[in-house]
């Protein structure tokens, strides 16, 4: 009898603990409760429950802690200071998959706020355990762990290097090949975060054979996956010519151009970013993109978007045109100048206008033919008004002034120059007058010497 009573006492206690932890986990989902919970000292109550004998209580306690740490960085700091991390890391190695998921969630929630917190996680040796968990069979565990690793690597190059040193990259490349879409997404995002900091890290990712798999996944219909994959490829390609060439060798062209017609805005933006990162290195890569019709696709994509989504496309046109005059002529015949001048007039944000002005300057600066193609679309008065207006930011004024100067130095199309004679400031007016003199001087000279019939006495 008394034995049963004793057992009943224990069961009651267990039930109470279970209920407490479940209710706390539920309450934390609503942000307005968190302050009350914090004042009630929930952190110190949850901590011993992490060591509870019952696995459900452990898991729910870990879940509640994760949600708390997710909410703001003070709570995440409290989690770190409360010495909870070593316990989590220790049990991460041993427990079942639900606990692993919850523990990885806590680590992710702590790491996302700041580099110092992520460093604290690395310091307590979580990386090795996380990488071991990446080999788990359950895709949910792998997803949670890959997410945590991605958030750690996001902050700076040292943390990325630490993640790479723990041997995460080959396992992440294996994760990308898994059939679950969510896991692929998270693994691609983690690879993107790792490779964005420095060329060596990008080289490590490439050496693990990630590019081929990422290139295959461009054809996947899921939009969020495409976003992450394109972002990863562009982070790899941006560092150096060799990396860009490796990305191109994975035969992404012309498949990437289909992503430019996707319905999702961010897929379009990331695809334009990828093409821009490839085009900016050398004229040969730009030539490759032009030969596959990439310029036309990007111009159409610019036409179909608005706002910040357009920015990488505009910069891509500028980079392509900057390399050589043949490429600039290719941009012109693909109807790029008309689209850029539409962007210049339509957009409201200054940095996008500055990018469009810069791109127009790069197109028009090569020869009088190019300058004429830019001047014919009546963009020069728009550029002048942007330069003169007091509302434009300094960057915009600087870029439009440079664009006007470089275009004017080659422009011989007089009808476009005439409006400048009326309302241009003196530093631009001198270029305009210089151009007029170049065009008209030889004409006047020929005319007068023919009229007078005298031999010239200049010699």
């Amino acid at each position: 009898m008394s034995q049963r009573q004793v057992v009943q006492v224990f069961e009651q206690y267990q039930k109470a603990r279970t209920q407490f932890v479940q209710m706390v986990a539920e309450l934390v989902t609503r942000p307005q409760n968190i302050e009350t919970l914090q004042n009630a000292g929930v952190m110190s109550l949850l901590r011993p429950l992490l060591l509870d004998v019952v696995p459900t209580i452990q898991q729910t306690a870990a879940l509640a802690l994760g949600r708390l740490a997710n909410y703001n960085d003070d709570l995440a700091e409290a989690v770190v200071k409360g010495d909870i991390l070593p316990q989590l890391v220790y049990s991460l190695a041993e427990q079942n998959r639900f606990y692993k998921k919850a523990a990885a969630f806590v680590l992710r929630a702590v790491a996302k706020h700041s580099p110092q917190l992520a460093q604290a996680i690395v310091d307590c040796g979580a990386l090795d355990t996380l990488v071991i968990c990446l080999e788990d069979f359950d895709p949910g565990v792998k997803e949670a762990v890959a997410w945590a690793l991605g958030y750690i690597a996001r902050h700076n190059a040292e943390l990325s290097q630490a993640v790479v040193d723990a041997g995460a990259v080959p396992l992440l490349v294996l994760c990308i090949q898994e059939p679950e879409i969510a896991l692929k997404r998270i693994a691609a995002s983690a690879l993107s975060d790792i490779s964005k900091h420095s060329p060596e890290l990008a080289q490590t990712v490439v050496d693990a054979g990630a590019i081929a798999h990422l290139a295959q996944m461009i054809l996947n219909p899921d939009a969020k996956l495409k976003r992450q994959v394109l972002s990863a490829l562009s982070q790899v390609a941006k560092h150096s010519v060799d990396l860009a060439e490796m990305v191109v060798e994975a035969e992404i062209f012309p498949v990437v151009l289909t992503c430019l017609k996707d319905k999702d805005e961010y897929v379009k933006k990331n695809a334009c970013t990828l093409i821009r990162e490839i085009a900016k290195h050398t004229p040969e890569l730009s030539q490759l993109i032009v030969n596959t019709g990439g310029v036309a696709a990007v111009i159409d994509c610019i036409g179909s978007c608005k706002g910040n989504i357009r920015l990488p496309g505009i910069m891509m046109l500028g980079y392509v045109a900057a390399h050589s005059e043949n490429l600039a002529m290719a941009v012109i015949i693909s109807k790029g100048v008309a689209q850029l001048s539409i962007c210049l007039s339509e957009e409201t944000e200054d940095h996008i206008k500055a990018a469009a002005a810069w791109a127009l300057g790069q197109i028009g600066r090569h020869t009088p033919e190019h300058a004429r193609a830019v001047a014919v679309t009546n963009t020069l008065p728009v550029l002048l008004s942007l330069y003169m207006s007091t509302e434009s930011s300094e960057d915009l004024q600087e870029k439009s002034k440079k664009a006007i100067k470089t275009i004017l130095q080659k422009c011989t199309y007089l009808p476009a120059l005439e409006p400048f004679l009326y309302d241009a400031p003196p530093n631009i007016l001198k270029h305009v007058v210089g151009q007029f003199s170049k065009v008209l001087f030889s004409w006047i000279f020929r005319y007068t010497s023919a009229k007078s019939g005298q031999l010239s006495t200049n010699y």
């Binding site: 069979f137 319905k263 019709g293 036309a296 043949n326 693909s334 031999l455």
Partner: protein
């Protein structure tokens, strides 16, 4: 002597005459002198002028010849210079022609092929057009696929709804709501309902028990991790002879898992626990723990005002019908009753008498 006297007498006269004639002569002398001077000066002037003219003629001749000589020298210099300039211009023009041809040839042959560039740009624009068309097609295809998928989803949803609403189908006796007799033809939903198969009841879903996870080698080797199939007969069992039941049935009954009743599955104090739970949930919804006071106690200080119906006497009130004065005598102005001041209407005094006796008014 006489002459002397005559001379002396004439001396003053002579003196006067002398003086007079001298002075007159002076005037004439001056005049004559001036005239002579004028004639002489004029003549001398003519002389000199003709001399000067003569000199000028001579000097002009000299100067003419000298200037002609200088100009011819200068002219020869100019001609030499112009000839030289013309030669140099011709040489320059020829050199320009040669250089022009050579430069054009060199650029076209070795540095830059204009036609190739034109060809390249044309090829690029053709590729652009092809790519644009291909991308348009791709986008169209995607749209069509999306629309198709959307339509299919709608169709599935409607089918499911029709299956759920199958009881709204019309019968011979009662037309259903989609088959109103006033319509020319039944609603499309009616046809859909006719085609739909009614849904079966959802089977009670047994919660799957959590099996052991294969997270480590030890877990794999545990006995419970081996897959258990349902009804395995013992290995070397010969089929029994005789009218026995089907072995599968027997084994099914023998190895049937325990299905305890609901009463034994639930703990014994479930009801109490449920009540406690409910009370706790209700408690969380309270703002504070004080009980709300009933509304009637709000009016504790107020006196009760009974309604008019219960405070006045039952029955018709004579106030409006028989007596017309106020109930309260203190309000009366005078003791006597009111008199009718106005005379009665003649019309109404003859009420009932003027009218025809044929009616029933009398």
């Amino acid at each position: 002597m006489a002459t002397l006297a005559r001379l002396q007498a004439r001396s003053t006269f002579i003196g006067h005459q002398y003086y007079f004639r001298n002075s007159v002569v002076d005037v004439f002398r001056k005049k004559e002198h001036d005239a002579a001077v004028k004639i002489q000066s004029w003549f001398r002037g003519c002389q000199i002028r003709s001399y000067i003219r003569y000199l000028q003629r001579i000097v002009v001749v000299i100067q003419k010849w000298w200037r002609g000589y200088l100009a011819r020298k200068h002219y020869q210099l100019i001609v030499k210079l112009a000839y030289y300039t013309m030669k140099m211009n011709i040489y320059n023009a020829m050199a320009v022609r040669i250089q022009r041809r050579w430069r054009g040839y060199r650029i076209r042959k070795y540095c830059f092929n204009y036609f190739y560039l034109k060809e390249y740009l044309r090829a690029v624009s053709e590729t652009n057009d092809t790519i644009r068309e291909a991308l348009e097609e791709f986008a169209d295809m995607k749209e069509r696929e999306e629309k198709k998928a959307e339509l299919e989803r709608e169709e599935k949803k409607r089918d499911y709804q029709a299956r759920k609403m199958h009881y709204l189908l019309s019968t011979k006796q009662i037309p259903g709501i989609y088959n109103s007799p006033f319509r020319k033809e039944p609603d499309p939903w009616e046809l859909r309902l006719q085609k739909a198969k009614p849904l079966t009841h959802r089977r009670y879903q047994v919660k799957p028990t959590r099996s052991v996870q294969l997270s480590s080698w030890l877990a794999c080797t545990s006995a419970r991790s081996f897959p258990r199939s349902e009804f395995l007969p013992p290995i070397d069992r010969k089929p029994c002879q005789g009218p026995f039941r089907d072995i599968a049935e027997v084994l099914k009954q023998r190895y049937k898992p325990l299905e305890p009743t609901l009463r034994s599955e639930e703990p014994i104090n479930e009801l109490k626990a449920a009540r406690e739970d409910l009370r706790r949930q209700e408690w969380t919804k309270n703002i504070h723990d004080n009980m709300f006071l009933p509304f009637s106690s709000y009016h504790k200080n107020k006196t009760y005002i009974p309604s008019m119906h219960s405070s006045s006497k039952y029955g018709p009130n004579s106030l409006g019908r028989q007596c017309f004065r106020d109930e309260n005598p203190k309000k009366w102005i005078c003791d006597k009753d009111f008199q009718t001041v106005l005379p009665a209407f003649d019309l109404f005094s003859k009420y009932g008498k003027l009218y025809s006796k044929a009616g029933q008014i009398l």
